[in-house]
């Protein structure tokens, strides 16, 4: 090696400093003639695996390293890895820098210097580290330093070599502008207000070896030292193999033995003492593969975690495993439902499979805390690298240019949400001005400039966030594999996102939150408290006829995963409610699949069909020849194009990735070649490929769908038999698809009486009992948790006997008292009084209440009771208005009933009767519940809106013409008159609206 090696190169992972992606850095380095390159991002190894991959592609020998800063001073040092031990130390050092609040660079480097080459420009550090035996070098920045400089003098005195470290933050001089823009964004200022130390100097770009050699011409020995040092850095990346969570029985049992025992014990609990032959055969097969691949401890660790909660839902491909089912990691019998284990694990598979487990949303944080407590520094969460997407980039750059938020939103709201840095193409300005929505969008200066700069910073990493549930657990402390830092919300995260973690071999366990598990838990607990004991072990809701009937009619509002209008319509149209079909339905509902859904319905209802190609006949038989599950893609690739299993699995994985376009193009070529060899016509090839692409990254594998369907069925069963307890749990847990208003209406439609909140009867949460639901105190707006708790505690001591008693003991503040009155929580306490009279009573109490302080008053005040004013009358409309204001719904009636006068004299059809008017144009009055804007094939927006009146809920369609005309009027949660044609499709009724008119908003 004769030439200079750049030892201080930063990429965009030096957040908001570096401008180029790692790919670009490596590509540029190769073009400039480097064959060795060190990546030294500041205080991180965020892009390590991307770097190693890019080096491989560009035939460059990687040097692993990082720049470490001192948090208190401007001191910094560059650390380069010499060997495995050095890598561990680098990870430890970065972790210490990130986690220890009083980290000191000088001490840290001394502590973990083994296996590292340390480059510093600080002469005192040079001396200190040299004395403590660190392999330290004097770093000569950018230009040669004079011999009289302290660094040169110290280096000469200690006989420490000096190396050239012309650091780079960008690739060419023109990138300076981009760099300064990033700095201005980061510091929340404008480019011309940046101070000298706020940004890198002009020459901080990656020059060619010749350029560097010219710069350091005056001191050739420095260049020679640099080359020599680079040669000694032989570490080209870590190799961990698969890193499994450790499991220790404490008794010396091997994980394999323990897993076998546990699995068979579990199987007996699931299938009875005498295990059927099929179970034993499959169990043996699975155990053999699991143990052979070394996954035994992984299963046992997941089992231990799952045991922390009595109600979980194991999902993802892991649900295909009988072992997982027997360990109670999953709840769907893979034998009964035909789930293939090989989809999850097979000996050919190189990468780590992951098991995803859902916990009740309010338990998950505790579960995570317990995992962290048990595994300590052996576990951390996976992070997300949040990057500048086009919208964010345009917004930030425009802010630096001083544009106002309104000017910015005017442009950014025309940018589609799904534009990501990979799909935005090259020219934001052109792409934007070509979109139909931007017809009237004028983009004068400085917009073209802003767009051009924004384009350059698109895709730059911005900050780290936490992956929703990914946890890695490692046999040695995590910080020996990867640097760990603390995310904004306080948890420890590793510096790699899930793709890099997977590449490194770190096996991740997903622990996610799920509201419906809490709903089911609460509903069952509610039943128990009302004396209905439900034994869950033999519970098979999917086999219950009444439940299947309800599911087939789409009566599933509130039920997990099958409550959205689209799914309920699909259920109604399919008219089937058994488990197998529900599994299909919860997978086929996805964007870009509408045509296939129509075709599926036709075939389901007896329409004739031929397999798209004979080669696919077996693969798609179960799903009427339509691709439904994620694995259908890989299975189709295998049977049509002769892909190997690993190859097909690669295709499946790529489809859910973000940056996929060019990889997919390559797969298509191979697919088309393979298929053509098997005699498939080009037309068919395109058709099959299109069906595969209709997944567009959103798809479930069958085991996952089955796991979800199981939870859906549990919910549907509860809703069928105990609607009050179930709906109360749905509302209390919030976060469902619909508003509380819609759930209350649904409960009322199921024949349930909604009892108003009552300080003597309501709990904080809603409670269902028999045929009634008691509104919980949590439904009352403005009411603090403290007041709710005081109410419950006060009531426990003694029931409240009147308003004054409540006020004296609970002392809510004024707005809370008002909200309680308006919601009707005192109605039962003050029988026969109107709410305005109760309010008067409260005002009187407030006036004569004893002061809270015990200081004596200056004058004796004798308060005479005031006579109530002669005119306190009750206006029912006003009462409803106020009740709606604090609760968001009405307890004893549907708000549509307030619009009787508006509806008089018009031929208004009630929602429950809509089916009788198929094909006719009708007028309906309805309250808007929810809506969803979609785009037609031509890109025109249209909307599906859900309305309800006091009799039923109904779906409407606003085609583009109607949508454009009326969309400005449609606002959530208010009443409308709708005119349109009633349409039926496989028995499901919808209204195609052509005119809409708002009713006055009394609320």
């Amino acid at each position: 090696m004769k030439q200079m090696v750049p030892l201080t190169v930063r990429s965009g992972y030096s957040l908001m400093w570096g401008t180029a992606s790692i790919k670009e850095v490596c590509h540029a380095a190769r073009q400039r003639g480097y064959d060795r390159l060190a990546l030294t991002d500041t205080d991180n190894l965020y892009g390590l695996w991307h770097f190693l991959e890019a080096c491989r592609q560009n035939d460059i020998t990687p040097v692993v390293g990082a720049e470490l800063t001192d948090p208190a001073t401007t001191d910094r040092a560059v650390l380069l890895v010499k060997n495995q031990e050095g890598y561990k130390n680098l990870c430890r050092l970065i972790t210490a820098r990130r986690l220890e609040p009083d980290f000191k660079l000088a001490e840290g480097v001394t502590r973990y210097a083994g296996g590292l080459a340390v480059l510093t420009r600080n002469s005192s550090h040079l001396e200190q580290w040299h004395e403590s035996g660190v392999a330290v070098y004097g770093a000569m920045p950018r230009r040669p330093l004079p011999l009289s400089s302290p660094l040169c003098q110290t280096a000469r005195y200690l006989n420490v070599p000096l190396v050239a470290t012309p650091g780079s933050f960008f690739l060419s001089p023109e990138d300076m502008e981009t760099h300064r823009m990033l700095r201005a964004i980061d510091l929340n200022t404008t480019v011309d207000r940046l101070g000298p130390s706020d940004a890198a100097p002009r020459d901080a770009w990656l020059a060619s070896p010749r350029e560097y050699e010219k710069r350091f011409e005056a001191c050739p020995e420095v260049l020679a030292n640099t080359r020599r040092l680079a040669q000694t850095l032989e570490f080209t990346g870590p190799d961990f193999g698969l890193v499994m969570p450790p499991w220790d029985s404490g008794t010396g049992t091997s994980p394999a033995g323990a897993l076998r025992d546990a699995a068979y014990r579990g199987a007996q609990a699931r299938y009875g003492r005498d295990l059927p032959e099929s179970v034993v055969r499959r169990m043996e097969n699975e155990l053999r593969i699991i143990i052979q691949m070394g996954f035994a401890s992984y299963f046992l660790v997941v089992r231990d975690i799952v045991r922390l909660s009595p109600r979980i839902c194991g999902r993802g491909s892991g649900a295909a495993s009988l072992v997982a089912y027997c360990l109670r990691i999953t709840n769907v019998c893979p034998i009964k439902h035909n789930l293939y284990f090989e989809r999850f694990l097979n000996p050919g598979r190189k990468d780590a499979p992951d098991i995803d487990v859902d916990f009740a949303w309010d338990e998950r944080d505790n579960i995570l805390a317990a995992v962290f407590e048990r595994f300590g520094d052996h576990c951390a969460m996976v992070c997300n690298h949040v990057r500048m997407q086009p919208r964010m980039a345009v917004r930030e750059v425009a802010r630096v240019y001083g544009l106002t938020e309104a000017e910015i939103s005017r442009v950014t709201k025309k940018m589609p949400w799904f534009w990501r840095q990979d799909t935005a193409g090259l020219d934001i300005l052109r792409e934007l001005s070509e979109r139909p929505e931007s017809r009237d969008l004028d983009l004068p200066a400085p917009w073209p400039r802003i767009m051009a700069v924004a384009r350059k910073i698109c895709g730059a990493p911005r900050y780290l966030s936490v992956h929703p549930g990914g946890v890695v657990i490692t046999p040695r402390p995590v910080c020996e594999y990867v640097p760990v830092e603390r995310a904004a919300k306080g948890v420890r995260v590793i510096q790699w996102e899930k793709d890099q973690a997977e590449e490194a071999g770190l096996v991740k366990i997903d622990l996610l939150g799920n509201r419906s598990l809490a709903v089911i838990r609460d509903a069952i607990a509610g039943l128990r408290s009302n004396g209905h004991l439900l034994d869950e072990s033999p519970w098979a809701p999917e086999d219950d006829f009444a439940t299947q009937e309800a599911v087939s009619q789409g009566k599933t509002m509130g039920c997990f995963y099958i409550e959205s209008p689209a799914t309920r319509l699909l259920q109604k149209k399919s008219r089937v409610g058994d488990f197998e079909h529900l599994v299909i339905h919860s997978s086929i509902i996805r964007p870009a699949a509408n045509d296939y859904i129509q075709e599926y319905l036709r075939r389901l209802h007896g329409g004739s069909w031929d397999p798209i190609h004979p080669l696919l006949a077996d693969v798609l038989d179960e799903t009427f020849g339509i691709m439904v599950y994620q694995e259908d893609v890989s299975r189709a690739a295998v049977s049509v194009a002769g892909f190997s299993h690993a190859e097909a699995d690669g295709l499946r994985k790529v489809m859910s990735k973000k940056d996929k376009d060019h990889v997919l193009a390559d797969f298509y070529r191979r697919f088309a070649d393979g298929a053509a060899q098997n005699g498939v016509t080009p037309e068919k090839i395109r058709e099959i490929w299109q069906m595969m692409m209709s997944f567009s990254g959103y798809s479930f594998c069958k085991p996952h769908s089955a796991s979800y369907a199981r939870v859906s069925f549990q919910a549907a069963w509860l809703k069928t038999y105990y609607p009050a307890a179930f709906m109360a749990a749905v509302i209390s847990n919030q976060g469902g698809f619909y508003s509380t208003f819609a759930y209350v209406s649904e409960a009322r439609r199921s024949g349930i009486t909604i009892l108003p909140p009552d300080v003597n009867a309501s709990d904080i949460r809603w409670q269902g009992n028999g045929n009634t639901i008691r509104v919980g105190l949590s439904a009352i707006g403005h009411l603090s948790l403290k007041t709710m708790e005081k109410t419950l505690a006060g009531r426990k001591a003694a029931r409240f006997i009147d308003l004054e008693d409540y006020m004296d003991r609970v002392r809510p503040d004024e707005s809370e008292a008002q909200a309680l009155i308006q919601s009707g929580a005192f109605d039962a306490l003050c029988p026969g009084r109107s709410r305005s009279m109760i309010r008067w009573q409260w005002a009187c109490w407030k006036n004569r209440r004893p002061p809270t302080s015990s200081a004596p008053l200056l004058f004796d005040t004798v308060l005479h009771p005031v006579v109530p004013p002669p005119q306190i009358t009750e206006d029912p409309l006003e009462r409803y208005r106020q009740e709606f204001l604090v609760l968001g719904f009405l307890c004893d009636t549907h708000p549509m009933t307030m619009y009787k006068t508006e509806q008089e004299g018009r031929q208004i059809i009630k929602a429950k009767n809509l089916g009788r008017y198929a094909g006719k144009r009708v007028c309906v009055a309805g309250w808007l519940i929810t809506g969803k804007v979609v785009r037609t094939k031509n890109g025109d927006p249209m909307e599906f809106l859900t309305f309800e009146d006091e009799t039923d809920i109904f779906e409407t369609t606003f085609f583009p013409k109607t949508y454009t005309r009326f969309c400005h009027m449609v606002d959530s949660n208010r009443p409308y008159l709708l005119w349109g044609i009633v349409e039926t499709d496989w028995g499901a009724v919808t209204l195609t609206v052509d005119k809409i008119e708002g009713l006055p908003d009394y609320t």
Partner: protein, 401 residues
């Protein structure tokens, strides 16, 4: 001083949708169509004023512009120019000044109170005065105001609200209470949203529903607002018409950028031009300034004003500029672009007669330089001489044309 027992005559003139009306007189194309005015640029900017047509289609003051445009899609949105409305208001107030010295005006909102108590012998009965004023405003401005005559400001204001946008209402003395009786409480000035909410808790929406309540009962239910409500619903208002005070003398110069900017250099160049202009006015008036204030309007309508003291007081351009620059740095803290800069020199003093104990050669030379520059400019025009920092395209035309 309030004359409690003299029967007062108050005229209230209310030009409906004043800001829009002013704009409509400037641009006839804006007439008879929905128009609204809102500070340009802010994300959730509220409606400042709207035309009658826009009002009829449901737009109200204070609602977000985005929402307003949803209600009325063909509404034109105009930027806000408070100075313009203020100037128009001043002119109308000047007309009113011909009839009475006691004129109270809102800040550019089209409201004017005239206390014409005891002027009947000079100008005729109050309705005649009001009518004459209306005619004059109509003639000169093309604005049609609503007006009323009543015994106090409260009732007069309610009366114009009733007849808005055009018309008149005369409430005879003693008729106040029956006049208010059937009205909704929301129309009474001073009754806030919070009052209406509190009243709604008793299901009360109109004056006549609240009239039977005595003061004691009102106190129980409405606490400190009781007396106000008690008086207001009976049309009792003792507040006087208060004319505005004389303004403190100041020299002010302003500049509106043709293209908004957040570039420090550009702003400083403009500021220097303003300081020069202001300095010349100061020197012509033979005054020194002790305070320099800078007001900047950001593109989104937010305004920031900062001032610094100048010690010693001066009329020297560079010294004035240095002070103004300090104020500018304090004022421009956001990165949003600036559309307007105003320089105000206040606390104007006579030049100190007392000379410095020691020679201050530098100050002396600066002062002589200023005199020389002023002389050159007065003979050969403003552009004959200017400092190097003002050498930029367009700047000379702006400041030395």
């Amino acid at each position: 001083m309030i004359h409690r027992f003299v029967e007062r005559s108050i005229i209230h003139i209310n030009v409906a949708h004043f800001a829009v009306a002013v704009e409509q007189t400037l641009d006839a194309r804006l007439r008879d169509r929905p128009v609204l005015i809102a500070p340009a640029g802010a994300a959730r900017t509220p409606v400042y004023d709207m035309s009658q047509e826009a009002f009829t289609s449901g737009i109200r003051k204070g609602m977000p512009v985005a929402g307003a445009l949803k209600v009325c899609r063909d509404c034109r949105v105009l930027p806000l120019y408070p100075a313009r409305y203020e100037r128009a208001m001043q002119t109308i107030a000047k007309y009113a000044g011909a009839y009475t010295p006691v004129v109270e005006q809102g800040s550019g909102d089209g409201h004017l109170f005239l206390d014409v108590t005891g002027t009947s012998r000079l100008f005729g009965p109050p309705p005649d005065v009001a009518w004459r004023l209306e005619r004059q405003i109509k003639k000169d401005f093309g604005l049609a105001p609503a007006w009323s005559v009543a015994a106090n400001k409260l009732v007069a204001k309610v009366a114009t609200r009733l007849v808005k946008p055009v018309g008149e209402y005369i409430v005879s003395p003693g008729e106040e209470a029956p006049f208010l009786e059937p009205l909704p409480l929301g129309i009474l000035p001073g009754v806030e949203r919070s009052d209406l909410d509190a009243l709604a808790m008793y299901h009360i929406g109109r004056v006549n529903q609240l009239r039977p309540w005595d003061l004691g009962q009102l106190q129980v239910a409405f606490g400190t607002r009781a007396q106000f409500l008690f008086d207001t619903i009976r049309g009792i208002d003792l507040s006087a018409v208060t004319p505005g005070r004389e303004k403190e003398p100041a020299v002010a110069m302003e500049h509106e950028f043709s293209e908004d900017t957040n570039c420090q250099d550009k702003m400083e160049q403009v500021l220097y031009g303003l300081a020069e202009k202001a300095g010349r006015v100061l020197r012509a008036r033979q005054r020194f300034a002790r305070i320099a204030g800078v007001v900047v309007d950001y593109s989104d309508g937010r305004r920031c004003a900062r001032q610094v003291s100048i010690a010693p007081a001066t009329a020297n351009d560079p010294a004035l500029f240095e002070a103004a620059r300090r104020a500018l740095i304090l004022a421009v803290v956001r990165r949003v672009r600036v559309k307007y800069i105003r320089l105000v020199l206040r606390k104007l003093l006579f030049p100190p007669v007392q000379l410095d104990l020691f020679d201050c050669d530098w100050q002396e030379r600066q002062a002589r330089l200023m005199v020389a520059m002023d002389n050159i400019r007065s003979r050969f025009g403003d552009s004959a001489i200017y400092p190097g920092r003002m050498e930029a395209p367009g700047l000379q035309q702006l400041f030395y044309a």
